[in-house]
Amino acid sequence: MPAIETEGLTKLYGAERGIEDVTLMVEPGEVFGFLGPNGAGKTTTIRTLLDLLHPTRGAARIFGLDSRRESVAIRRRLGNLPGDFGYGKHASGREALALLARLRGIDDLARGEELARRFRADLDRPLGRLSRGNRQKVGLILAVFHRPDLLILDEPTSGLDPLMQEEFLALTREERERGCAVFISSHELDEVERVCDRVGIIRGGRLIAVERVEDLLGKTLDRRRVKVEFAQPVDLDDVRAMPGVAAAEFAHPTLEEVFLTYYEEGSG
């Protein structure tokens, strides 16, 4: 049974368009990237799946349950990280975690504590006094601590530093291996490419493509450009002198790669 199945899902805000005829399917154990620029309809789709918005037309089923009529049953199996996570200023992450655990009938907060250590999240400070990135870590913990069957994450790495982004990608892979379906809305194309099995692209409220990541990249593959790594340092002129080579240049590491190198050395 699909984790998510939508058919002609449409949400109109009066005369304004939200999303129109969105039809997609996400399987258990699949990481699905939902791509599109701001205002394309990513968040509207997610909020309609979560029954926060009521569809104008069409339907969504999650684990075979109707998203509208059976939303409470659905949410027993679901973890959600809203875009721009917030929980008020005064409550701490631990208080939020304790309340959500009680609402889910969970007594043991060990998994939440473990995730807090892993993401270096401060669960004791009031959320209003945390930076955006540190709040986001708490939001991630609240979404994942109960080992859901479906994770819906709206811009999950927003505000996270590169180290925590890496940790998030590792966690996503672990969740996939556990059999959890992960629906990630993002415009961070790099992280989507690294972790997603399939992607859907939404533009102007309409889903215009759903493909496997490698198929999508293969379509635009430029067979004239090749990344080659030599065993030893080479002279660029020697490379340029090779038959058929039109141009050659050294590949500079990205700032993110350099940043991660420093931290990997520090942790070793």
Partner: protein
Amino acid sequence: MTALLAAQLHERRRSVLSWGLPIGLWSGFVVAIYPSVEDALQKAIASYPEALKEAFGIAELNSVEQYLSAEMLSLIVPLAIGYLAVRSVASGLSGAAESGRLDVLLSAPVSRSRLVAASFGATAAEIACVLLASLLITALSSLLVGAGLSFGLALAGFANVWPLALLSAGLGIVVTGWSLRTAIVTGSVAGVLVAMYVADLVGRLDTSLDWIRYGSVFRYYGHAIEDGIDPVAFIGVTATAVAIAAFGAALFERRDLTQ
């Protein structure tokens, strides 16, 4: 439901002090000065026009209970507590939507109706605690200066504010069915409460307009500190408040929760 209720009560624990203490101190001050102003009051009241005295429920001011009623329980306490009630119920709904908390809570297996019920229930308990704190401070003040305030009558006077506050909270939930902006929810219900008070006042001043009082909760509010609680009005207003809250919950269930 109990988890939500407990969490909301925990968040509102400070309001017992921040609202109960000032209202109690003000009421206590009114009670404390009564013995020293009693004679002057009698003379002043005797000079007031009958219609005015009737309108403001001050036909007589020959007891500390009547003075407390006229100074505090006729207008200031019901309006202040009514405002606190709508502010509190809104903090659990529109306030939660504004802070993002509503999205997080509705990720858990909780229905919107339960969220509304928890917010309403927490408000009812919070208001009861604030009124109790106010009553105890007032009674303590009377004891200290020997003002002779009847605890039983004062209890009736403060307790009678509770159904009115619940009605205010119920109206707040109805407005939340349309708007998730806390300023709009609290402002509109506060406006309705003031309009109801004015309608009741006008109806009392001009008997030909008495009919407009039927739409005002203040018609059923009365003067419990002098006459005791009218059980029919008390239960009727409470039941109406619960029915209005249930209607509001149905509206809240149907609405879109936009960011």
